[in-house]
Symmetry: C2
Subunit: 409 residues, 2 copies
């Protein structure tokens, strides 16, 4: 079954080469027929790496592999397959990961622990890694600097559009480039909405500084988004810095020299995170939730995520119903400090509820018009303190039920 | 729009009178036309009461009223209306609650604080309490011992069937009766899945003992169920003991004499809680989730509720897909101690995954047959300790989207 592209899709941007990054995709026939399903990236010697992974207590074998490799801070290759997540596959799964890394390390000529892995797709089926390793030599032989779109497409499972973003940043007065690709949440009997994101830069940044920036950047992007509250076993974000750009030396702790880089990285990660939400299963509307006036930023984030994860709020948005009562309910169920009588709720810039009750005679017309649009903005002020946070989600529609209620086979 | 009765509905049982309880329903025209929407119960002098309420931080005015009244442990009347929840209505909401209690207390001849209130329906609209109080005198004049079905129907909002259960229990060698009615989660533009439950007994039980039993009973029943993870602002369970039965005196702390009563009460509360789930919005299947082998009972419950609240698990059940990979995902996202390689997952009595992987060659036929049924059983053993818990939910279907995505008006 071919899928309609999400109405919230954005076009793939121009993706110039990044010195030290060569990539490509191939058909390994792991699960899908007639499309690429394995992506390989070779990275220049000296590339540093940072990574953040799922908090799910049942992570996949590739996540285990990456976590073990990461402390060295070095990377020479990345291999990603789509169609099989290699999760809950026991000893066989670990063996499949090791065999894949071994094959890639032979081709690249590097230690196995400098190969990073990610898999996405069905859970609980052993990855047929021979098919994957059989496809690698020919793929490796034709890696190129220009195959960004191939790579973005090769990691899709049931995504309806390829996801990428690129930025430039100044380090000293040198311009470096940051490019990322991501996949997330699609259609047709998927097993899990797995989110993968790979970011590359030609900057030369010590692994420790890279890791600190990535952790912070994901907190402000991917970790503020939700499609359905279900945390994947395979979520992975990796950031590779090839060090091929010429710029002043960056100290291990990063610091002020990376201010613009961090800003551009955060912007790129948020761009990619929102592309994943735009391709959320069944999504028809992109929803931004701003919470202010909380006792702390952490408290604000919990409230924002409670709203973003509320099925009643999400179905109301799908129905274009400015149902602020459900937003109040979600605020109250978050368990965070909240005083019913100081809460304000606004939609699309119009405050509808204030000080514990409806705003008498508020103008409903602009709210109704806003709800018919494809980008919905919800504002909640708790009236308690200065804590604030933003979360993004999509609406909950019949499409989500269609996608996830269909039988796998 | 008339609604199809839930395929999981159960018939209303025979409900004999309870000495000291007279009840009835009337049409106050608060929101609905051509149906009853206000229920009044008069309780004999000496009736004790226990109550548990929503943990939502934005509770409705009637919840505030009941919380304030409860410390006395005494009750003479209960007034419930359907169609308007009297939530997020500020000062006007508190006034509406007080006016309702005042009217009922005049009719019954008791202090206002011995009148208990509950409201369910739309949020954020001021309760037109004059309509309610205008209906009370005629309703009070015709209260009867036999109007249980009228009462069960009068508190429905978008429920598709009335919910009641009755039990007998021994105190000493005297038989007492316990009868409860409940409402929960229906259809057609509801604003919130509000759960209300009122239980009555002719036993003579001190309020403190009653409260302890009710707290424990709701923990093992309503608090183990979920339709959509959204905690209502109006959830209320009240237990009234009229003291009209003749039995040995029960001490304030309750104790062994109430063992059978507590057992029957727990059974009745679970019966009512499952009736609410059976009428869950869009529900086609009732799902029981047993978690064993956790490090503690609390941990087991968190894991069970994470599975019960997972949209991916619930849509898979709607699709009759024995998708144990999603169950593993939900275990892992719960954040509780779990070792991927010691987890076992079974459906309908067949273990499909064990020790971190699929059970080789397990017989899929009975699992497929089980998934087609209307009552689904999921078992998860974490293999870590002796903690166990059970949760109940329903599947997530197109019906849920239809109900909650339609515009309110």
């Amino acid at each position: 079954m071919a899928l309609a592209v999400s109405p919230l899709a954005v076009p793939l941007p121009e993706l110039p080469p990044i010195a030290g990054v060569r990539l490509g995709a191939a058909e390994a026939g792991i699960r899908y027929k007639g499309r690429t399903d394995v992506v390989m990236v070779e990275l220049a010697a000296g590339t540093t790496v940072a990574g953040v992974f799922t908090s799910n207590k049942c992570p996949g074998a590739p996540v285990d592999w990456c976590r073990a490799a990461l402390p060295s801070g070095k990377a020479r290759a990345l291999v990603v397959n789509a169609g099989n997540a290699n999760v809950f596959t026991g000893r066989a799964g670990a063996n499949a990961a090791k065999a894949t890394a071994a094959a890639a390390s032979d081709l690249v000529g590097c230690p196995q622990k400098q190969v990073y892995l990610a898999s996405t797709g069905v859970i609980g089926e052993v990855l047929p890694h021979e098919r994957l390793t059989a496809a690698l030599p020919a793929l490796h032989a034709r890696l190129s600097e220009d195959a960004w779109e191939d790579a973005a497409r090769g990691i899709m499972t049931t995504d309806t559009f390829p996801k990428a973003a690129t930025r430039t940043a100044l380090i000293g007065d040198a311009t470096v480039r940051i490019t990322g690709i991501a996949k997330g949440s699609g259609m047709i009997a998927p097993d899990m909405a797995t989110m993968l994101c790979f970011v590359f830069t030609d900057a030369k940044i010590p692994a420790a500084a890279l890791q600190a920036m990535l952790r912070k950047g994901t907190d402000g992007s991917f970790n503020c988004t939700t499609v359905d509250s279900d945390t994947s076993t395979s979520d992975t974000v990796l950031l590779f810095a090839t060090g091929q750009a010429k710029h002043p030396r960056v100290p291990a702790e990063g610091g002020r020299m990376l201010a613009d880089f961090a800003r551009q990285l955060n912007d790129l990660l948020l761009d990619l995170a929102l592309q994943v939400i735009r391709d959320g299963e069944g999504a028809q509307k992109l929803v931004r939730i701003d919470v202010t006036g909380a006792v702390s930023g952490k408290s604000a984030k919990r409230v924002a995520m409670a709203i973003a994860n509320s099925p009643l709020v999400k179905t109301a948005i799908a129905g274009e119903d400015a149902n602020w009562g459900r937003i109040v309910m979600a605020v109250g169920k978050a368990g965070e400090p909240a005083d019913r009588d100081s809460i304000s709720v606004g939609i699309g810039g119009t405050w509808m509820a204030r000080d514990g009750g409806v705003v008498p005679g508020y103008d409903e017309a602009p709210v109704v018009a806003h709800m018919k649009g494809s980008e919905i903005e919800i504002a909640v002020d708790l009236g308690l303190g200065r804590g604030k946070a933003t979360a993004w989600t999509c609406d909950l529609t019949h499409g989500y039920i269609d996608i996830n209620g269909s039988y796998r086979s």
